[in-house]
Every structure is written in C-alpha cells, then in structure tokens.
C-alpha cells in the first residue's frame, strides 16, 4: 500500500519533470520558428500582388496548359493530366511559400523547429502518460491534467497534418506559442497534485466523453488559428485587390501565408470534420449524466455551454451554405464558436459553479 503510494508519487514527479522538459523543448522550437520567420523575411516575394493586380500575369498563370509530356518527337500522354481551376468568384491567388519564404536557411530553421516540436510532443506525451500511471486512471480529473493533455493533442493534430503532407507548417509558430502559454498556465495556476477521482467521475464514460472532448477542442483550436489567419490574409488580399498598399510588416508576414481561399478551406475542413465528433461528445456526456446524476440533460452550465458551442458551429456550417454569408461573416461565426468552446473550458470551470466542478483550482 505505502509502497504503491511511493511508486505513484515517484511517477508523478517524473511526470512533472517531463512536462517541464517539454516546455523547455517547446521554447527551443519557438525560437527556431522565429528564426524561420526572420530568415524568411529576406526574400522578396510578392506573388499575391502580381496575381491580383496584373491581370495578364494571372491569366497566363491560369491558362490550363494541357500538359503534354513529350516522348521523343511524338507526344504520347503517359497518363492524362488533370487541370483544375477554382470556382468563379474565388480570388485566384497562389499560396505563399511558407514562413521560410523560400530562403534556404529559413527553411532549415523551420525543419529544426518541426523536429523540436516532434521531440517536445513526445516528451509531453510521456508526461501525460506517467501522470496517468501515477493516478492509475485517465489523466483527466482536473484542469491541470486537461491542459497538459489538451496541448499534447493539439500539437499531435498539427504533426498529423504535417505527416499527411498537408500544407500546415505555417501554423507552427502560433501553435507553439499558445502551447507554451497553456503549459505555463497549467504548471503555475492550475497545478493540482496527482490524485484519484471522486465517485461521479468513475466511469468508462470518462474515457469516451472526455477524450473526445479534448480531441474536439484541439481540432477546433487548429481550425480557429486557420480562421484567424484567414481573416488577416483576406484583408491583405482585399487591400491589394483594391489597389491599396499594406504595411511592410504585414506584407512580409502575410505574403508567406497560404492564400485566403486556402486558409478558409483549411479551417472549414477542420471544423466540419470534427463537428460530428463534437455532437457525439455531447451525446456521450448526456448518457453519462443520465447514469451519474439521474438526468440526461439538466442545463448545467457546462452542458449549456457545450450546447451553445454546438449550435454556434452548426451556425457556422449553415452560414457557409447560405449565399451572402460565406467568407468573412462565416469566419467570424467560427471564431465566436471557438470562443464559446474556450469559455466552456476556462470560464465555466473557473467562474461558474455547477455540477461539473472538478476544476481543482
């Protein structure tokens, strides 16, 4: 008994060390991303302006040259090449080159940053795992544990996107910055010594409901970063299209991001993909509440805000399917929806008391 307790305490302290180490590695990654952005600023790319202002250039780029691969004189297609073009109404702007801006050294730093992020992710995941082992349950009993799991999952989502060869490296800096903030908050304000659960949390639904909730949050977060950058990039493109001259800093940064249309598409996909899972999370929560508290739905603040978040995302999806609401208006809705999620997480746990009072702060 005491021996077990000692091992558990031992594991818990290993977990803490791992979390602090992960923070150190994330900090290194943060500086590497910064270096990528700084070196990238040396390149002079202004493809957006060219695409938007010089109609000729745009048209030339756009003309779908049916690529015919030549094989010594007689040209025979090896495989028909598909030409794509974007729908009318969308601005046809090429994606930016990424933070490194085509600069080789910048790219090198960027790669170092991604590698460091992978390392930090593994260390942090180890921290979450040892924490789980130390308490012998799912590591989601209080806000400290939520936070460390949440940032691990968010970084995991980012790395998964990279592994799937998606254009997502632009997200590195904002993501790692917020992960550091999140962890800083976790180890200072929210820290709770490792401990067991109150009876109401003892259920396999904990695994189902909370794990999906955290995953949804992480994915919504990634979507929100995309949406926010979309708004910036979109105003930038609008300004250029209207003949304006954005500031130098804005140009340097935004020019390297993907096109507004790409960012928009990215965040839509991310949000839409996770919406069914969020629906499931709420339903799973209701079933659990039915077992634990004798009612499926009681308009407890946490339940209410999950519902509000859900409706807000449904709003966003509807907005995208409604003429006149696409683009920026829908993007604002997406940000509001994420704001609801965030409030549900921090606001409700800390400021509002309800049955979901396990913040541990």
């Amino acid at each position: 008994m005491t021996l077990a307790a000692a091992t558990n305490e031992h594991l818990a302290s290993i977990s803490n060390v791992l979390i602090y180490s992960a923070m150190a590695v994330y900090t290194l990654a943060f500086f590497a991303y910064i270096a990528e952005w700084i070196f990238g600023s040396r390149s002079k790319v202004s493809r957006t302006a060219a695409a938007l202002t010089h109609k000729g250039a745009a048209a030339a780029r756009q003309a779908p040259a049916v690529t015919v691969q030549s094989k010594g004189g007689t040209a025979v297609l090896e495989r028909p090449k598909v030409v794509t073009r974007s729908a009318s109404g969308t601005r046809d702007v090429p994606d930016g080159p990424g933070a490194h801006g085509g600069d080789e050294q910048g790219d090198l730093y960027g790669r170092i940053a991604v590698s460091l992020t992978v390392l930090a992710f593994l260390v942090e995941a180890g921290g979450v795992l040892t924490r789980a082992l130390s308490v012998q349950r799912a590591p989601w009993g209080n806000m400290y544990e939520f936070n460390i799991t949440f940032s691990t999952v968010a970084v995991g989502v980012y790395l998964t996107l990279l592994a799937l060869k998606k254009n997502a490296r632009w997200m590195g800096l904002p993501l790692v910055t917020t992960v550091l903030l999140d962890l800083g908050l976790a180890v200072t304000v929210l820290y709770t010594a490792s401990d067991q659960l109150v009876p109401a949390l003892h259920s396999y639904w904990l695994w189902i409901h909370v794990s999906t909730a955290i995953l949804c949050g992480a994915v919504f977060y990634v979507g929100a970063v995309g949406t926010l950058l979309y708004l910036f990039r979109d105003s930038y493109e609008n300004k250029l299209a209207n003949g304006g001259q954005p500031g130098r800093f804005a140009t340097s940064v935004l020019e390297r991001l993907p096109a507004a249309a790409t960012l928009d598409k990215f965040s839509y996909r991310v949000n839409a993909a996770v919406f069914p899972l969020w629906t499931f999370t709420i339903i799973a929560g209701a079933i659990w509440a039915g077992d634990a508290w004798g009612r499926y739905w009681g308009w407890d603040p946490k339940e209410t805000w999950s519902f509000i978040t859900w409706v807000a995302y449904a709003c966003y999806l509807h907005a995208r399917a409604t003429a006149g609401w696409k683009g920026r208006k829908a993007a604002y809705l997406a940000l509001i929806a994420f704001g609801c999620w965030l409030f549900n997480y921090y606001g409700v746990n800390i400021f509002v008391t309800g049955k979901h009072s396990y913040a541990g702060v």
Partner: protein, 616 residues
C-alpha cells in the same frame, strides 16, 4: 426543370421549390459580378444544378393581390390573394436558410443567461439568495423569466420556430431529393474545359468504344451513369444528401422524444435506512413530481431493500475526506412478487428495473436513540436519519416522540429533541461542533430537549427534520438554561425532574437516498442521437460530384476524349478521382500520337462553373 423555372423568375407567385437553383445562381452571380467575373453560361449552370437540396431565399415581399376589381367581391378576392401571398411569403421566410441561421444564432444567445443566472430548475436556494441580494434586479429578472430560461416563453418560441422552420425545410427538400433520385444526372455542358477539373487526350479508339468503356467504368465505380448525346454523364454521392436529411429529421425525432419524456415522466425521492425497504407506489415517496400526462398507474411495480451502505473516503493527502466509493447494496424484486435478487447501486450505476431507474443520490447517518419515560419504560427506540450540512457530513435533524410518553403525573405529552451529529468529532474544546472527516471515526451526538406539543396534528405538513418549538417548552438544566448535552455512543442524557432519559445507542446506521425516475422516450432519443451522428458524418464527409466523359471525332479524324468533374463543393478529391478514372479509361483508349499541340478551346476564359452553395 431549371430551364423552365428560369423563365418564371420574375413572377413571385409561381416560385415553387423548383426555382431554388436558379435563385442560387442569381445570388452567386451577383457576388461574382462584384468581383468582376460575370457568369452567364446557362449550359454550365445546368451542369451544376440540383447538386444539393439546399433551399434558397425565394421570398420576395410585394403586392400579392394584384389589380383589384371593383366592388365587395373584388375586395374579397384581392384580400384573399393578398393574405395567401403574405402567408406564403412568411412561410418562405421562415423556412429559408437565412432565417434558420438567425434562429440558430438566437438559440445559442438565448441559452447564455441560463448558465450565468441561477435557475429554479437546478437550485432554488441560489435563486432565493440572488433575489434577496438584488432587490431591484430580482423582480425584473423574474418577469423576464430569467430564473427559468429553458422553460421561458421566449426560449421556447425560438426553438419552436426553429423546428417549424426545420420541418418546413425538410419536407420540400425530401421531395426534391426523391426527384433527383428518380431523374438522371444532367448531360455534359458544351465546354467541359470550364469545369473545376478537366482532362483530355486523343485516342485511336472509336468514340462509341470510349463511351461504352466510360459507361462501364463509371457504373463499376457505382456512379449513376447514362449516355446523353456524345457524352456519358454520371453522378455519385447521393448519400450525402440522404445523410443531411436523416440528420435534420433525427433532430426532430429527438425533440419529440424529449417532449414526450417530459410529459410522461415521473421522478421521486426516497430516503431509506439500512435494513428498510421501498415499494414503488406513490404513498411511499418522500417527494414526487411528474409530467402533466403521467398517471400513477404508470408506476412500475417493484420493490427493493437497502441491505447496507458502504462509503469510503480518502484518508490522507491534500484531498483528505474526498469520497472514494459510495455503494448501496440492495435486494430487489421485479413485479408484484417477483424473485428476489441482490445487486449494488453506485453513483454511476443506477439500477434499472422495469423501465424505471433507481439512482443513488445521497447518504448520511442515522444514530439509534432510545427514549425512556420517568418509570424507565422505553417509549421510543429508532434510528433517526439526520441531514448532512457539509462535506464531512456534519448533520442536523430532529427526534420526535409523538406518542407513548407520559410525564411523571401520567399526563400524555410529546417530546422533541434538536439533534446535531458529527461522525468525527474534533475533541472537546477544539473549536466548533463540526465534523472533521466523513467516516464514523469519533461519532458524537449533541441534543437539546423540549416537551409539549409537536404540532403535528395541526394538519400543516411538517418537515420531519425540523422541530417546531412554538408549542413546546424547554427542559431546563440546573442553571435554568435549555438542557443540552453532547453524547458519546452509549451515553445517556437524563431529563430533569424524573422526566425520563434519552440514550445515544452504540449503533449508528447509515441511510441512502434514492431517486426513482421513469422517463419514456429515452430509447427514441438515443436512436435519434445515433441517427443524427451517422447522418451528419455522411453529410459532411461524403462529396456529391458529377463526371462527364465526352468522346468525339476531331477534325483530323482522331477521337478526342474529354473528361470533366464537378463537385458540390470545390474539393481536392474531385480532380483526384477524375485523374484516377482517366487513367483507367486511358488504358482502354490509349493515346494517339500527336502532331499538333493540343490546345482546347476557350481555356483562356478565367471563370469556371461552380455548383451552387459551392464552398471549401
């Protein structure tokens, strides 16, 4: 269908659901015009029509009555036309996507106050505190229904409107979808080059051969395909629409299930001592509430007995005192006299009997006390359940000796004791009488004694846990103060002047309180929820798309194959799939040697066709 409706555009009255697609384009093309790309190719528009069943804002207000004939009959006819016109306009507004959007947004806004202001549904006490603290705001909030937001008129209005809108939206969409399933994908537009994904090559195979191969291929890939003219037209991904409709219908099913649940549900509470039992009839409940259509005959006949309650608590560490297990061990029997079975009920594990659920919701202690009269005769011996007032189960309550007691003069009287109990006492002189730990480590019972009339015969319902001392007199101690004493198990407090005694026996029982609820419609709600998730996944992950394959003989007698793809929304999958199909078809119709650079016509046009509702 879209062609005919196009001509009806000007006439508001004839706008039927069929007009949707055209207006969709009207909307998009207006936006396009703003961006300098005017889209006016009706042929392309046709290609993208009916790729979804999204309703479109068709409602246009205006004069519906038209010219008014003179006389009363004229006025009547005009008024009727006007009314019908406006009604239809209103209906269209209500069932439009835009209004659905606004209602959804309102619903989320309206849900906010309920999470910040205390609600009577969950915590009456807090509501009262709030009202006491905010004497001006309180009544205003009360009028606005802010203390019961989720059953308030305005909240209900929003969701009822939303669901009417939903029904009004789903019915025409379902018909439209059925129509699409019956019809065939539209033929190939003239200029395939302008579609979002396009490919072409020249082959020595005959056009008919190519078309036959394409048709076979597309059918094999489970497209709905047919040959129209010189091209094969195909479409796939109808499950998306089906999923979307299922999702929206499932929302309605869930709402109806909840509503019936509310109307027919019953919910009651019962506190049971270890060793005692309960059978499910109305009279046995401590408190009971039910939906407006519930009848007591609906109570399922079953009974159970609490054999033992087990509670354990964290002994050490910062979370000392936090509950670790709560378990009620029970014996139950289903039906009027069913076989007895043993089981345990825990916080996350309600007992389900015959459609009712028995939840464990609380527990506490019930010290066993014995009251004797002046002659030493036992007039009361019971475990008295006391109510916890804090997390360490400091408990209060009342001990009421209703009958059997006579004072030393032989006169009938009633006795009452205020009881205060701590399972773990801090020790004499160590602060207040508050429990230090929830388990029975150092139980102490503090009593104060009264005699007279308990007032239970007055007909006013009494709280069993509170003593009404208005018609009682205090027993006095030697100093003339109210007689009080702290008792350890086994100790006795003697009442003055030979009035008898009260003993705290060495036995403290535990009690558990249960909530027994019955709510029909749960199954439907769950089924609706599952259908909603499945439908949603289908609707968001399946792409509805069209593919056309045209094979014609070129000027030089060589066959030209053109393939194009169009998705409901612009997605990377459409070109990918087209490339895939093209590669397979290319094997059937391999490329012909090419002398001139193939440059399809019209490629320099910078606009391309878009499906309505195109996005991502």
């Amino acid at each position: 269908m879209s062609k005919t409706s196009q001509t009806q555009r000007a006439d508001v009255q004839t706008h039927e659901e069929t007009a949707h697609e055209e207006t969709a384009h009207e909307e998009t093309s207006r936006e396009d015009a703003a961006e300098g790309a005017v889209q006016n190719d009706g042929d392309l528009r046709e290609a993208g029509s009916q790729l979804s069943t999204a309703p479109v804002e068709t409602a246009v207000p205006g004069s519906f009555g038209g010219p008014r004939a003179p006389g009363f009959a004229g006025w009547l006819a005009w008024t009727a036309r006007e009314t019908v016109g406006w009604a239809r306009w209103f209906w269209r507004q209500l069932t439009s996507m835009r209004v659905a959007l606004i209602l959804l947004f309102l619903l989320s806004l309206a849900a906010i106050p309920g999470s910040l202001i205390p609600q009577t549904g969950s915590d009456e006490l807090k509501v009262q505190d709030f009202k006491d603290a905010h004497t001006t705001l309180g009544p205003i909030y009360d009028k606005l229904g802010l203390f019961h937001v989720y059953s308030s008129v305005w909240f209900s209005a929003i969701y009822i409107l939303l669901f009417i809108s939903l029904i009004g939206c789903i019915v025409p969409r379902t018909w439209q979808f059925v129509g699409q399933l019956r019809g065939r994908p539209p033929g190939a537009p003239r200029r395939l080059t302008r579609l979002p994904a396009y490919t072409t090559w020249r082959t020595e195979a005959e056009p008919e051969q190519v078309r036959a191969a394409a048709l076979a291929l597309l059918k094999k890939r489970r497209f709905r395909a047919h040959t129209a003219g010189d091209a094969v037209a195909a479409e796939k991904g109808y499950l998306r629409e089906a999923g979307n409709l299922v999702f929206h219908i499932a929302l309605i099913v869930m709402l109806i299930a909840f509503a019936t649940g509310q109307l027919f549900k019953s919910e009651g509470g019962k506190l049971i001592l270890e060793g005692d039992g309960f059978s499910n009839t109305l009279t046995q409940y401590d408190d009971f509430k039910s939906g407006s259509l519930f009848s007591t005959d609906d109570l399922a006949p079953f009974s159970f007995q609490l054999d033992r309650f087990v509670g354990t608590y964290e002994r050490t560490g910062p979370n000392k005192g936090t509950p670790r297990t709560f378990r009620a061990e029970v014996t139950y029997s289903e039906g009027v006299d069913g076989r007895e079975k043993k089981t345990s009920i825990e916080v996350n594990k309600p007992l389900e009997i015959d459609g009712s659920k028995v939840y464990l919701i609380g527990h506490g202690y019930a010290p066993v006390v014995t009251v004797r009269d002046g002659r030493g005769k036992v007039v009361f011996q019971q475990a008295v359940p006391l109510l916890p007032i804090d997390a360490n189960i400091t408990s209060t309550g009342a001990i009421k000796v209703l009958d059997g007691y006579t004072d030393k003069n032989g006169k009938k009287e009633q006795l009452g004791f205020n009881a205060f109990f701590v399972p773990t006492f801090a020790g004499a002189g160590k602060g207040e009488m508050f429990s230090q730990f929830p388990a029975l480590d150092f139980p102490v019972l503090a009593l104060s004694a009264y005699h007279g009339s308990l007032g239970v015969d007055s007909g006013i319902p009494q709280n069993v846990y509170q003593l009404d001392t208005s018609k009682m007199k205090e027993f006095k101690d030697s100093n003339g103060e109210l007689l009080k004493k702290r008792l350890l198990p086994g100790e006795t407090m003697t009442l003055p002047n030979g009035a008898g005694s009260i003993t705290f026996e060495k036995d403290v029982k535990e009690w558990a309180s249960f909530q027994i609820s019955q709510q029909p419609g749960d199954g439907w709600a769950l089924a609706g929820a599952i259908a909603a998730i499945a439908g949603l996944a289908a609707s968001l992950f399946i792409q509805r798309r069209r593919v056309w394959v045209r094979a014609t003989t070129g000027d030089d007698g060589v066959t030209v194959v053109e393939m194009a793809g169009l998705g409901r929304s612009e997605s990377a999958k459409v070109p990918e799939e087209l490339g895939d199909l093209a590669a397979v078809l290319y094997d059937h119709a391999p490329g012909a040697p090419d002398d001139a650079e193939a440059e399809p016509d019209g490629v320099s046009d910078s606009d391309a066709a878009a499906a309505e509702g195109a996005e991502n």
